[in-house]
Symmetry: C2
Subunit: 386 residues, 2 copies
């Protein structure tokens, strides 16, 4: 009898499994339908010996010292500040749009924040009720920048023009009036030094944790006994799609190794115009590896495939809410993670959600208190000795 | 209820799991106490992006077309003929000893097989009853070659001088009268093109197979129900060391990445003299990878650690025979693989043993016949369509 069955070995599942085993001495069976741990953050060395991200680039960034310190138990870090260029009219320009973007694109010489603000104000279109993603961008930067940087990207990304998408879709795209070209502003911007997979392996390397791969819930739920389930899979699948499928936008990846040292000056280049892909990631920028070849990934948005982005439409949120009510009425199962809560969370947010769930579970649950000889106690003793 | 529980995800366990799932439609749970599949053949990319063998060099060679074709379902191959040099008196000389070794070591010009035979005969010591490993070598090549190439190596490898070891220990060291410097003579000498781990992953990627890592038999045997067990772990451990431990010689590995393109001219260099290690493996020779750095492994024989070489002494064979009788009297458990049969098998031999065991099990067992909709049938249909 396992104390916990954790469905999914991504961030949500691995963090909560680690906490339950190391802090509560619980026995935890973690299953995942893939043949590896780490969820979409899984990275691996390809045949050229280059560490690539199988499911697209994952850049760790957070403002939470607590989350950063938690993960630091399982990995050293490599300082890395993410910068993205957008390939527009055959030029590579900083995105989010900043002062440099405008100066280079329009051959200007804006030198103060005020000058940039004035410039953008002169281009912004007055829109009374901002409803769509298009409204958001037009009202901030005007039509030309919208057409060049946003329209095509969003169309590829979502298969719909911004005019048909809720304003929340582009809420994550700020415009800068200074020359800061960092993609994220968070205090902590780092990559796990040995890669994400190594970090997950360390997280799960506890004698209270068993990891079972290539395994779906239905394969084992009637075979292996457990007390409580943590479910991090798709919530609609858990309830047999009773209220219909929750729509997701997917991605296809083309991983390529090129016979040259570098392809591009930064880790990620966006393609908002005519190319069929939305972005190209070159991994050596992220990892600091040196190699005479280089491995890159072309990213193609797609309707079908693994679930990546919940489609932000009100009817989908309502459908999710119906599933959430079922989840709340399901005893002995805790639903966490992106797929189980139908949210596009960053990695640090998922970790935070899992840590919070661990706290809730241990406050109310029948999980065994550490006994002498239990893992938690042993660990504490080992730490005290060290 | 699983049809089969397979303990150990090395060659023996993975091959039989693959056969049972793909040919008999069986459900198979494979467990391994390590956090990876592949047993000692496990390879991985290190932080320099170089594919290394975590547990020492594994070179695939076989004379069996059947075994080679079986594995070819799961990997492409890279042609590779293994050559080993021995570091003797500050020179690198071919081992097994051949005509080149003798000409270089003694500054000779032997040009025919007969000349080599005459030379060796003139050095060989007449020994009436060949009993020890020392006797074997002395009677073949005489004292000087024995001292230079064998005595120190064996002493390091076994912690005992050849005079105290059974003759079977060096039975695997031939001497050549020609200039052939290949380490193996087998028809098939190849490396899996994407590495061993990739090959194992493909072998185990079947929907009838679940893989559970970091898991020992005792963790799950009372929790997860199964019909029949295939045990590939240590046989003495299975029976709680009832007749005592079966002794093994172990190895410690030091994996190092050097800031230079190459360290040595061949994949493996033996050190039979004063160095504390027995051999150094440079992996790029095996894999064909190109990289400005190079990763090598220093190999140190050791008394304790993972079990590698059964200690070839008559009393150990007798102890094993006692365990074997227990095994034969244990219903519903099949014992295969190196550790369960206390044998130093090459990889192809383990594969052959597992295939034979599969045949025996399916001939006598209650394993379900393929039904329509079963994996075997689906696979056959898919193959017919392809």
């Amino acid at each position: 009898m396992f104390d916990f069955l954790v469905v999914g070995a991504g961030f949500a599942g691995s963090v909560i499994a680690e906490r339950l085993a190391s802090q509560r001495g619980a026995t935890v069976l973690v299953i995942d339908k893939r043949n590896h741990v780490g969820g979409n953050a899984y990275d691996r060395y390809d045949e050229a010996g280059i560490l690539i991200h199988q499911y697209g680039p994952h850049i760790f960034h957070t403002n939470s010292a607590r989350i950063f310190e938690y993960l630091s138990q399982f990995t050293a870090w490599r300082s890395y500040e993410h910068r993205v260029l957008s390939h527009v009219d055959e030029r590579l320009l900083p995105i989010p749009i900043n002062r440099t973007t405008l100066n280079e694109l329009y051959d200007l010489n804006l030198s103060t924040e005020e000058a940039v603000e004035r410039f953008l104000k002169g281009r912004a279109e007055p829109i009374e009720h901002v409803r769509t993603a298009e409204d958001v961008v037009l009202s901030q930067v005007g039509r030309d920048l919208y057409e060049k940087f946003f329209r095509g990207y969003t169309l590829k990304q979502w298969g719909l023009p911004p005019s048909q998408l809720d304003k929340s879709v582009t809420a994550r795209v700020p415009v800068r009036t200074n020359t800061d070209d960092r993609y994220f502003n968070d205090t902590h911007q780092m990559m796990p030094a040995g890669g994400y997979t190594r970090m997950f392996e360390r997280m799960l390397r506890h004698k209270g944790i068993k990891v079972m791969l290539q395994t779906q819930l239905r394969d084992i739920q009637d075979v292996i006994p457990f007390r409580h389930m943590i479910y991090t899979g798709a919530i609609d699948e858990f309830f047999d799609y009773r209220y219909g499928k929750l729509p997701y936008r997917s991605l296809h990846f083309e991983h390529v190794t090129l016979p040259q040292e570098w392809r591009q000056p930064v880790a990620v280049v966006n393609y908002p115009q005519d190319e069929p892909y939305t972005r190209v990631t070159e991994y050596k920028h992220l990892t600091g590896q040196s190699n005479a070849q280089t491995s890159v990934t072309f990213e193609y948005p797609a309707d079908s495939g693994d679930p990546y982005y919940p489609v932000p439409r009100p009817e989908n949120q309502e459908r999710y809410k119906a599933y959430e009510r079922l989840a709340n009425a399901t005893p002995n199962v805790t639903f966490i993670g992106r797929l189980a809560t139908y949210r596009y969370y960053n990695m640090d947010q998922v970790v935070g959600q899992a840590l919070a769930a661990f706290k809730r579970i241990t406050e109310r649950s029948a999980a065994p208190e550490p006994r002498v000889g239990d893992y938690a106690v042993e660990q504490a003793q080992a730490l005290r000795r060290a």
